[in-house]
Protein backbone atom coordinates (compact mmCIF):
# COMPACT_ATOMS: atom_id res chain seq x y z
CA UNK A 1 0.00 0.00 0.00
CA UNK A 2 1.44 3.32 -1.02
CA UNK A 3 1.42 5.90 1.73
CA UNK A 4 0.35 9.51 1.33
CA UNK A 5 3.09 12.13 1.39
CA UNK A 6 3.96 14.04 4.52
CA UNK A 7 6.74 16.05 6.05
CA UNK A 8 8.81 14.19 8.65
CA UNK A 9 10.40 15.93 11.62
CA UNK A 10 12.40 14.57 14.53
CA UNK A 11 12.47 17.10 17.37
CA UNK A 12 15.22 16.53 19.92
CA UNK A 13 13.44 18.17 22.86
CA UNK A 14 9.97 17.87 24.36
CA UNK A 15 9.56 21.64 24.18
CA UNK A 16 10.20 21.63 20.42
CA UNK A 17 7.88 18.64 19.87
CA UNK A 18 5.04 20.34 21.78
CA UNK A 19 5.60 23.55 19.83
CA UNK A 20 5.44 21.77 16.45
CA UNK A 21 2.34 19.81 17.42
CA UNK A 22 0.63 22.96 18.65
CA UNK A 23 1.48 25.08 15.60
CA UNK A 24 0.27 22.47 13.13
CA UNK A 25 -2.76 21.44 15.18
CA UNK A 26 -4.90 18.83 13.43
CA UNK A 27 -2.46 18.71 10.51
CA UNK A 28 0.31 17.16 12.61
CA UNK A 29 0.47 13.67 14.01
CA UNK A 30 2.83 12.43 16.72
CA UNK A 31 4.35 9.00 16.19
CA UNK A 32 6.02 6.73 18.76
CA UNK A 33 6.00 2.99 17.91
CA UNK A 34 3.64 3.67 15.03
CA UNK A 35 1.85 0.32 15.15
CA UNK A 36 -1.59 1.89 15.61
CA UNK A 37 -1.00 4.95 13.46
CA UNK A 38 0.59 3.24 10.43
CA UNK A 39 -2.61 1.31 9.71
CA UNK A 40 -4.64 4.51 9.96
CA UNK A 41 -2.18 6.08 7.51
CA UNK A 42 -2.34 3.14 5.11
CA UNK A 43 -6.13 3.21 5.16
CA UNK A 44 -6.18 7.00 4.77
CA UNK A 45 -8.06 7.34 8.03
CA UNK A 46 -5.46 9.90 9.02
CA UNK A 47 -3.60 11.95 6.43
CA UNK A 48 -1.33 14.36 8.35
CA UNK A 49 0.80 17.01 6.66
CA UNK A 50 3.50 16.54 9.24
CA UNK A 51 4.69 13.54 11.19
CA UNK A 52 6.38 14.41 14.48
CA UNK A 53 8.65 11.54 15.54
CA UNK A 54 8.79 11.34 19.34
CA UNK A 55 11.48 8.67 19.46
CA UNK A 56 14.31 11.20 19.58
CA UNK A 57 12.99 12.72 22.83
CA UNK A 58 15.42 12.19 25.68
CA UNK A 59 14.85 9.98 28.76
CA UNK A 60 11.40 8.71 27.80
CA UNK A 61 12.49 5.09 27.33
CA UNK A 62 13.32 4.50 30.98
CA UNK A 63 11.74 2.46 33.76
CA UNK A 64 12.49 3.27 37.39
CA UNK A 65 11.13 2.07 40.72
CA UNK A 66 11.36 2.99 44.36
CA UNK A 67 9.47 1.47 47.30
CA UNK A 68 8.23 4.92 48.28
CA UNK A 69 7.28 6.43 44.91
CA UNK A 70 6.43 3.27 42.99
CA UNK A 71 6.97 2.76 39.29
CA UNK A 72 7.78 5.42 36.73
CA UNK A 73 7.63 4.40 33.08
CA UNK A 74 8.57 6.69 30.19
CA UNK A 75 5.96 6.81 27.45
CA UNK A 76 8.44 5.48 24.87
CA UNK A 77 9.16 2.26 26.76
CA UNK A 78 8.21 -0.58 24.41
CA UNK A 79 5.70 -3.18 25.56
CA UNK A 80 8.41 -5.83 25.16
CA UNK A 81 10.80 -3.82 27.34
CA UNK A 82 8.02 -3.33 29.91
CA UNK A 83 7.18 -7.04 30.01
CA UNK A 84 10.85 -8.04 30.37
CA UNK A 85 11.70 -5.51 33.09
CA UNK A 86 12.69 -7.42 36.27
CA UNK A 87 11.07 -4.86 38.57
CA UNK A 88 7.81 -4.86 36.61
CA UNK A 89 7.76 -8.68 36.64
CA UNK A 90 8.35 -8.76 40.38
CA UNK A 91 6.18 -5.90 41.61
CA UNK A 92 3.51 -5.58 38.89
CA UNK A 93 3.18 -9.03 37.29
CA UNK A 94 -0.23 -8.32 35.71
CA UNK A 95 1.23 -5.32 33.90
CA UNK A 96 4.03 -7.50 32.56
CA UNK A 97 1.58 -10.20 31.45
CA UNK A 98 -0.85 -7.72 29.91
CA UNK A 99 1.98 -6.25 27.79
CA UNK A 100 2.55 -9.75 26.38
CA UNK A 101 -1.17 -10.01 25.58
CA UNK A 102 -0.96 -7.09 23.14
CA UNK A 103 -0.74 -7.96 19.44
CA UNK A 104 2.28 -10.10 18.53
CA UNK A 105 5.95 -10.17 19.63
CA UNK A 106 6.80 -7.87 16.73
CA UNK A 107 4.09 -5.38 17.67
CA UNK A 108 5.15 -5.56 21.33
CA UNK A 109 8.74 -4.74 20.35
CA UNK A 110 7.64 -1.79 18.20
CA UNK A 111 4.67 -0.46 20.17
CA UNK A 112 5.12 1.71 23.25
CA UNK A 113 3.20 1.94 26.52
CA UNK A 114 2.33 5.57 25.79
CA UNK A 115 1.11 4.68 22.33
CA UNK A 116 -0.98 1.85 23.72
CA UNK A 117 -2.70 4.20 26.17
CA UNK A 118 -3.35 6.64 23.31
CA UNK A 119 -4.59 3.87 20.99
CA UNK A 120 -7.50 4.98 18.85
CA UNK A 121 -10.87 3.32 19.33
CA UNK A 122 -12.11 0.73 16.84
CA UNK A 123 -15.21 0.21 14.77
CA UNK A 124 -15.72 -2.20 11.87
CA UNK A 125 -17.49 0.59 9.99
CA UNK A 126 -14.53 2.93 10.41
CA UNK A 127 -11.48 0.62 10.31
CA UNK A 128 -11.95 -0.60 6.77
CA UNK A 129 -10.27 0.08 3.46
CA UNK A 130 -11.00 3.35 1.62
CA UNK A 131 -12.89 1.41 -1.06
CA UNK A 132 -15.21 -0.30 1.41
CA UNK A 133 -15.70 2.95 3.28
CA UNK A 134 -17.04 4.58 0.13
CA UNK A 135 -19.99 2.21 0.22
CA UNK A 136 -21.28 3.85 3.39
CA UNK A 137 -22.19 7.40 4.28
CA UNK A 138 -19.32 8.99 6.29
CA UNK A 139 -19.80 8.32 10.01
CA UNK A 140 -19.17 10.65 12.97
CA UNK A 141 -15.56 9.47 13.30
CA UNK A 142 -14.95 10.37 9.64
CA UNK A 143 -16.49 13.80 10.14
CA UNK A 144 -19.95 12.79 8.95
CA UNK A 145 -23.30 12.82 10.69
CA UNK A 146 -24.35 9.19 11.11
CA UNK A 147 -23.36 6.19 13.22
CA UNK A 148 -23.56 2.80 11.53
CA UNK A 149 -23.04 0.89 14.76
CA UNK A 150 -25.91 2.53 16.67
CA UNK A 151 -28.50 3.83 14.24
CA UNK A 152 -29.78 7.36 14.81
CA UNK A 153 -27.04 8.01 17.37
CA UNK A 154 -25.77 11.58 17.38
CA UNK A 155 -22.38 10.52 18.70
CA UNK A 156 -19.66 8.04 17.76
CA UNK A 157 -19.72 4.60 19.37
CA UNK A 158 -16.29 3.29 18.34
CA UNK A 159 -15.05 0.92 21.05
CA UNK A 160 -11.90 1.42 23.12
CA UNK A 161 -9.86 -1.79 22.88
CA UNK A 162 -6.58 -1.13 24.71
CA UNK A 163 -5.13 -3.83 26.99
CA UNK A 164 -2.83 -1.75 29.17
CA UNK A 165 -5.29 0.94 30.28
CA UNK A 166 -7.56 -1.35 32.38
CA UNK A 167 -4.53 -2.82 34.16
CA UNK A 168 -3.14 0.63 34.96
CA UNK A 169 -6.59 1.85 36.02
CA UNK A 170 -6.92 -0.85 38.68
CA UNK A 171 -3.36 -0.08 39.80
CA UNK A 172 -4.50 3.56 40.27
CA UNK A 173 -1.88 4.91 37.89
CA UNK A 174 -1.38 8.57 37.10
CA UNK A 175 0.07 10.08 33.97
CA UNK A 176 2.20 13.13 33.28
CA UNK A 177 1.03 15.27 30.38
CA UNK A 178 3.38 17.91 29.10
CA UNK A 179 2.79 20.95 26.90
CA UNK A 180 4.48 24.28 26.26
CA UNK A 181 3.22 25.61 29.62
CA UNK A 182 4.68 22.75 31.65
CA UNK A 183 3.69 19.44 33.15
CA UNK A 184 0.57 18.27 34.90
CA UNK A 185 -0.23 15.01 36.64
CA UNK A 186 -3.70 13.54 36.21
CA UNK A 187 -5.20 10.21 37.25
CA UNK A 188 -5.36 7.88 34.24
CA UNK A 189 -9.10 7.66 34.87
CA UNK A 190 -9.43 11.30 33.73
CA UNK A 191 -7.50 10.64 30.50
CA UNK A 192 -10.34 8.94 28.64
CA UNK A 193 -13.09 11.07 27.17
CA UNK A 194 -15.77 8.46 26.58
CA UNK A 195 -16.12 9.83 23.06
CA UNK A 196 -15.60 7.21 20.35
CA UNK A 197 -14.48 9.91 17.95
CA UNK A 198 -11.50 10.87 20.07
CA UNK A 199 -11.01 8.53 23.01
CA UNK A 200 -8.56 10.62 25.04
CA UNK A 201 -8.37 14.22 26.19
CA UNK A 202 -4.94 15.12 24.77
CA UNK A 203 -5.10 18.49 23.00
CA UNK A 204 -2.85 19.54 20.09
CA UNK A 205 0.55 20.36 21.54
CA UNK A 206 0.19 17.97 24.48
CA UNK A 207 2.28 14.82 24.88
CA UNK A 208 1.82 11.91 27.26
CA UNK A 209 5.23 11.84 28.93
CA UNK A 210 5.33 9.35 31.77
CA UNK A 211 3.19 6.87 33.66
CA UNK A 212 3.31 6.68 37.45
CA UNK A 213 2.09 3.60 39.29
CA UNK A 214 1.91 3.60 43.09
CA UNK A 215 3.85 0.86 44.93
CA UNK A 216 1.86 -2.37 45.33
CA UNK A 217 0.34 -3.03 48.74
CA UNK A 218 1.30 -6.14 50.69
CA UNK A 219 -1.25 -8.97 50.42
CA UNK A 220 -2.47 -7.77 47.06
CA UNK A 221 -3.03 -9.74 43.90
CA UNK A 222 -4.19 -8.97 40.41
CA UNK A 223 -5.56 -10.48 37.25
CA UNK A 224 -6.05 -9.42 33.66
CA UNK A 225 -8.21 -11.74 31.62
CA UNK A 226 -8.51 -11.11 27.92
CA UNK A 227 -11.13 -12.69 25.71
CA UNK A 228 -10.39 -13.00 22.00
CA UNK A 229 -10.87 -15.56 19.25
CA UNK A 230 -7.17 -16.23 18.59
CA UNK A 231 -4.56 -16.39 21.32
CA UNK A 232 -2.43 -13.88 19.44
CA UNK A 233 -2.71 -10.73 17.30
CA UNK A 234 -6.33 -9.97 18.21
CA UNK A 235 -7.52 -6.95 20.10
CA UNK A 236 -9.54 -7.83 23.21
CA UNK A 237 -13.23 -8.52 22.65
CA UNK A 238 -13.48 -8.21 26.41
CA UNK A 239 -10.80 -7.45 28.97
CA UNK A 240 -11.25 -7.65 32.74
CA UNK A 241 -8.62 -6.27 35.11
CA UNK A 242 -8.81 -6.65 38.86
CA UNK A 243 -6.59 -5.57 41.73
CA UNK A 244 -7.46 -7.03 45.09
CA UNK A 245 -5.86 -6.26 48.45
CA UNK A 246 -6.75 -8.45 51.44
CA UNK A 247 -6.39 -7.86 55.15
CA UNK A 248 -3.22 -9.58 56.25
CA UNK A 249 -5.29 -12.15 58.16
CA UNK A 250 -8.54 -13.86 57.26
CA UNK A 251 -10.72 -13.40 54.21
CA UNK A 252 -11.60 -9.73 54.53
CA UNK A 253 -11.10 -7.45 51.51
CA UNK A 254 -9.18 -4.27 52.20
CA UNK A 255 -9.31 -2.69 48.77
CA UNK A 256 -10.57 -3.67 45.32
CA UNK A 257 -10.46 -2.10 41.88
CA UNK A 258 -12.11 -3.57 38.80
CA UNK A 259 -11.93 -2.29 35.21
CA UNK A 260 -13.26 -3.46 31.86
CA UNK A 261 -12.06 -2.82 28.34
CA UNK A 262 -13.50 -3.40 24.84
CA UNK A 263 -17.09 -3.00 26.05
CA UNK A 264 -17.44 0.79 26.00
CA UNK A 265 -16.05 3.90 24.34
CA UNK A 266 -13.50 4.14 27.14
CA UNK A 267 -11.91 1.68 29.54
CA UNK A 268 -14.26 1.72 32.53
CA UNK A 269 -13.61 1.50 36.25
CA UNK A 270 -16.44 -0.31 38.01
CA UNK A 271 -17.12 1.84 41.08
CA UNK A 272 -19.09 -0.88 42.88
CA UNK A 273 -15.75 -2.66 43.48
CA UNK A 274 -15.08 -0.06 46.19
CA UNK A 275 -17.97 -1.56 48.16
CA UNK A 276 -15.96 -4.74 48.73
CA UNK A 277 -13.89 -2.92 51.33
CA UNK A 278 -14.27 -4.54 54.74
CA UNK A 279 -16.34 -7.41 53.38
CA UNK A 280 -15.68 -11.11 53.44
CA UNK A 281 -15.21 -12.51 49.94
CA UNK A 282 -18.31 -14.70 49.87
CA UNK A 283 -20.05 -16.01 46.76
CA UNK A 284 -22.84 -13.48 47.26
CA UNK A 285 -20.39 -10.56 47.36
CA UNK A 286 -18.61 -11.78 44.23
CA UNK A 287 -21.91 -12.33 42.43
CA UNK A 288 -22.96 -8.77 43.25
CA UNK A 289 -19.70 -7.42 41.82
CA UNK A 290 -20.11 -9.51 38.66
CA UNK A 291 -23.64 -8.17 38.21
CA UNK A 292 -22.46 -4.59 38.64
CA UNK A 293 -19.80 -5.10 35.96
CA UNK A 294 -22.41 -6.69 33.69
CA UNK A 295 -24.64 -3.64 34.09
CA UNK A 296 -21.88 -1.21 33.06
CA UNK A 297 -20.73 -3.18 29.98
CA UNK A 298 -22.22 -2.04 26.68
CA UNK A 299 -20.63 -4.21 24.00
CA UNK A 300 -21.72 -3.56 20.40
CA UNK A 301 -21.42 -5.58 17.23
CA UNK A 302 -18.89 -3.06 15.84
CA UNK A 303 -15.64 -4.88 16.72
CA UNK A 304 -16.47 -8.51 15.95
CA UNK A 305 -19.22 -10.72 14.67
CA UNK A 306 -20.07 -12.28 18.02
CA UNK A 307 -23.39 -11.06 19.37
CA UNK A 308 -23.05 -8.26 21.90
CA UNK A 309 -25.14 -10.26 24.38
CA UNK A 310 -22.62 -13.11 24.25
CA UNK A 311 -19.80 -10.75 25.23
CA UNK A 312 -21.97 -9.09 27.86
CA UNK A 313 -22.78 -12.49 29.40
CA UNK A 314 -19.07 -13.29 29.47
CA UNK A 315 -18.43 -10.25 31.68
CA UNK A 316 -19.94 -12.00 34.72
CA UNK A 317 -17.90 -15.18 34.22
CA UNK A 318 -14.69 -13.29 33.58
CA UNK A 319 -15.14 -11.13 36.69
CA UNK A 320 -15.61 -14.26 38.80
CA UNK A 321 -12.53 -15.90 37.27
CA UNK A 322 -10.54 -12.70 37.82
CA UNK A 323 -11.58 -12.66 41.48
CA UNK A 324 -10.40 -16.26 41.92
CA UNK A 325 -7.06 -15.56 40.28
CA UNK A 326 -6.42 -12.29 42.10
CA UNK A 327 -7.53 -13.81 45.43
CA UNK A 328 -5.00 -16.63 45.05
CA UNK A 329 -2.16 -14.19 44.40
CA UNK A 330 -3.28 -11.92 47.24
CA UNK A 331 -3.52 -14.64 49.86
CA UNK A 332 -0.24 -16.24 48.83
CA UNK A 333 1.45 -12.98 49.68
CA UNK A 334 2.12 -12.24 46.05
CA UNK A 335 1.86 -8.79 44.57
CA UNK A 336 -0.26 -7.63 41.66
Amino acid sequence: MKLPEFEYVEPKSIRKACQLLKEKGDKAQAIAGGTDFMMALKNRLKVPEMLVDLRGLPHLNRISYSDKEGLKVGALVSLRQLAASPVVKEKYPILSRAALDVGTPQLQAMGTIGGNLCQDSLCLYYNRSPMLRQMLEPCHKLGGKVCHAVSRSKTCWATYCGDIAPVLLVSEAKIIIVDSKGEKIIPLNKFYSGDGKKPNVLKPGQILKEILVPPPSPSSGGAYLKFRLRKTIDYPLLGVALNLTMESYGQICKHAKLALTAVERAPILIEEADELKGKKMTDAVIEKLAKAAYKHAHPLNNICELTPQYRKDLVKDYVKLAVQEAFQFATKGGTI
Binding site: E5, F6, E7, T35, M38, T104, Q106, T232
Partner: protein, 156 residues
Protein backbone atom coordinates in the same frame (compact mmCIF):
# COMPACT_ATOMS: atom_id res chain seq x y z
CA UNK B 1 9.97 14.73 0.42
CA UNK B 2 13.23 12.87 0.38
CA UNK B 3 16.14 12.30 2.67
CA UNK B 4 19.47 10.43 2.60
CA UNK B 5 19.79 7.91 5.42
CA UNK B 6 22.37 5.34 6.46
CA UNK B 7 21.11 1.80 7.01
CA UNK B 8 23.27 -1.01 8.39
CA UNK B 9 21.84 -4.08 6.73
CA UNK B 10 23.32 -7.54 7.30
CA UNK B 11 26.63 -5.96 8.28
CA UNK B 12 26.90 -3.62 5.31
CA UNK B 13 26.23 0.09 5.38
CA UNK B 14 24.04 1.59 2.70
CA UNK B 15 23.56 5.30 2.13
CA UNK B 16 20.30 5.61 0.39
CA UNK B 17 17.84 8.26 -0.74
CA UNK B 18 14.40 7.48 0.67
CA UNK B 19 11.05 9.18 0.48
CA UNK B 20 9.54 9.93 3.86
CA UNK B 21 6.48 7.88 2.97
CA UNK B 22 8.37 4.71 2.03
CA UNK B 23 8.40 1.77 4.40
CA UNK B 24 11.48 -0.24 5.23
CA UNK B 25 9.89 -3.11 3.30
CA UNK B 26 9.61 -0.91 0.17
CA UNK B 27 13.30 -0.05 0.42
CA UNK B 28 14.51 -3.58 1.10
CA UNK B 29 12.56 -5.13 -1.75
CA UNK B 30 12.39 -2.42 -4.36
CA UNK B 31 15.58 -0.38 -3.88
CA UNK B 32 18.02 -2.94 -2.50
CA UNK B 33 16.68 -6.08 -4.17
CA UNK B 34 16.54 -7.94 -0.84
CA UNK B 35 13.40 -9.79 -1.80
CA UNK B 36 13.74 -12.51 0.83
CA UNK B 37 11.63 -10.27 3.06
CA UNK B 38 8.05 -10.89 1.97
CA UNK B 39 5.11 -8.57 1.56
CA UNK B 40 2.17 -10.50 3.00
CA UNK B 41 -0.80 -8.64 4.44
CA UNK B 42 1.01 -5.27 4.36
CA UNK B 43 -0.93 -4.33 7.47
CA UNK B 44 1.02 -5.70 10.42
CA UNK B 45 -0.89 -8.92 10.97
CA UNK B 46 0.93 -11.77 9.19
CA UNK B 47 4.62 -11.40 10.09
CA UNK B 48 5.94 -12.31 6.61
CA UNK B 49 7.88 -9.03 6.49
CA UNK B 50 9.60 -9.60 9.87
CA UNK B 51 13.17 -8.32 10.13
CA UNK B 52 15.42 -7.80 13.15
CA UNK B 53 16.11 -4.17 14.02
CA UNK B 54 18.72 -3.61 16.76
CA UNK B 55 18.13 -7.12 18.06
CA UNK B 56 14.34 -6.85 18.25
CA UNK B 57 11.78 -8.38 15.91
CA UNK B 58 10.04 -5.75 13.78
CA UNK B 59 7.52 -5.59 10.97
CA UNK B 60 9.16 -3.84 8.03
CA UNK B 61 5.78 -3.07 6.43
CA UNK B 62 4.84 -0.99 9.48
CA UNK B 63 8.20 0.78 9.82
CA UNK B 64 8.96 3.97 7.95
CA UNK B 65 12.40 3.71 6.35
CA UNK B 66 13.25 7.27 7.35
CA UNK B 67 12.95 6.22 11.02
CA UNK B 68 15.67 3.56 10.58
CA UNK B 69 18.53 6.04 10.26
CA UNK B 70 21.71 4.38 11.60
CA UNK B 71 19.94 1.30 12.91
CA UNK B 72 21.18 -2.27 12.44
CA UNK B 73 18.86 -4.41 10.40
CA UNK B 74 19.04 -8.13 9.72
CA UNK B 75 17.02 -9.63 6.91
CA UNK B 76 16.78 -13.30 5.97
CA UNK B 77 19.66 -12.77 3.53
CA UNK B 78 21.92 -12.10 6.52
CA UNK B 79 21.06 -15.24 8.46
CA UNK B 80 23.49 -17.57 6.65
CA UNK B 81 27.10 -16.60 7.44
CA UNK B 82 30.07 -17.18 5.08
CA UNK B 83 28.06 -19.47 2.85
CA UNK B 84 27.01 -21.63 5.82
CA UNK B 85 23.32 -21.93 6.56
CA UNK B 86 22.27 -20.93 10.06
CA UNK B 87 21.38 -23.91 12.30
CA UNK B 88 17.75 -22.77 12.20
CA UNK B 89 17.78 -22.97 8.40
CA UNK B 90 19.41 -26.41 8.40
CA UNK B 91 16.94 -27.63 10.98
CA UNK B 92 14.00 -26.26 8.97
CA UNK B 93 15.17 -28.32 5.99
CA UNK B 94 15.67 -31.46 8.04
CA UNK B 95 12.27 -31.21 9.70
CA UNK B 96 10.36 -30.29 6.54
CA UNK B 97 9.30 -27.11 8.29
CA UNK B 98 8.99 -25.23 5.00
CA UNK B 99 6.24 -25.91 2.48
CA UNK B 100 5.34 -22.94 0.29
CA UNK B 101 8.04 -20.97 2.08
CA UNK B 102 6.36 -17.60 2.17
CA UNK B 103 6.30 -17.33 5.95
CA UNK B 104 9.74 -18.85 6.50
CA UNK B 105 11.88 -15.66 6.31
CA UNK B 106 9.66 -14.17 9.00
CA UNK B 107 9.51 -17.01 11.49
CA UNK B 108 13.20 -17.86 11.06
CA UNK B 109 14.07 -14.34 12.22
CA UNK B 110 11.52 -14.46 15.06
CA UNK B 111 13.12 -17.74 16.13
CA UNK B 112 16.60 -16.23 15.91
CA UNK B 113 15.60 -13.43 18.30
CA UNK B 114 14.16 -16.03 20.67
CA UNK B 115 17.29 -18.21 20.70
CA UNK B 116 19.60 -15.19 21.01
CA UNK B 117 17.80 -14.22 24.22
CA UNK B 118 16.82 -17.67 25.46
CA UNK B 119 18.95 -20.54 24.10
CA UNK B 120 16.80 -23.28 25.67
CA UNK B 121 13.17 -22.30 25.26
CA UNK B 122 10.20 -24.46 26.21
CA UNK B 123 7.56 -25.37 23.63
CA UNK B 124 5.31 -22.62 25.03
CA UNK B 125 8.09 -20.07 24.67
CA UNK B 126 8.66 -21.14 21.06
CA UNK B 127 4.94 -20.80 20.38
CA UNK B 128 4.85 -17.34 21.95
CA UNK B 129 7.88 -16.23 19.92
CA UNK B 130 6.38 -17.22 16.55
CA UNK B 131 2.83 -16.16 17.46
CA UNK B 132 3.24 -13.18 15.15
CA UNK B 133 4.05 -15.28 12.08
CA UNK B 134 1.15 -16.78 10.20
CA UNK B 135 1.74 -20.06 8.36
CA UNK B 136 -1.06 -21.50 6.24
CA UNK B 137 0.72 -24.73 5.24
CA UNK B 138 2.47 -26.53 8.05
CA UNK B 139 0.09 -26.27 10.97
CA UNK B 140 3.13 -24.98 12.94
CA UNK B 141 4.04 -28.38 14.38
CA UNK B 142 7.10 -28.90 12.22
CA UNK B 143 8.17 -25.30 12.65
CA UNK B 144 8.07 -25.74 16.42
CA UNK B 145 9.98 -29.04 16.20
CA UNK B 146 12.65 -27.51 14.00
CA UNK B 147 13.23 -24.62 16.41
CA UNK B 148 13.31 -26.88 19.46
CA UNK B 149 15.81 -29.14 17.69
CA UNK B 150 18.25 -26.23 17.31
CA UNK B 151 17.95 -25.51 21.01
CA UNK B 152 18.81 -29.17 21.67
CA UNK B 153 21.83 -29.11 19.34
CA UNK B 154 23.19 -26.13 21.21
CA UNK B 155 22.79 -28.02 24.48
CA UNK B 156 25.02 -30.86 23.23
Amino acid sequence: MKRVIALHINGETYEILVKTNETLLDILREKLGLIGTKRGCDSGACGACTVIIDGEPALSCMTLAVRCQNRSIMTIEGLAQNGQLHPLQKSAMEHDAVQCGFCAPGWLLSAKVLLDNNPHPTLDEVRAAIAGNLCRCTGYRKIEESILAVADWKAK
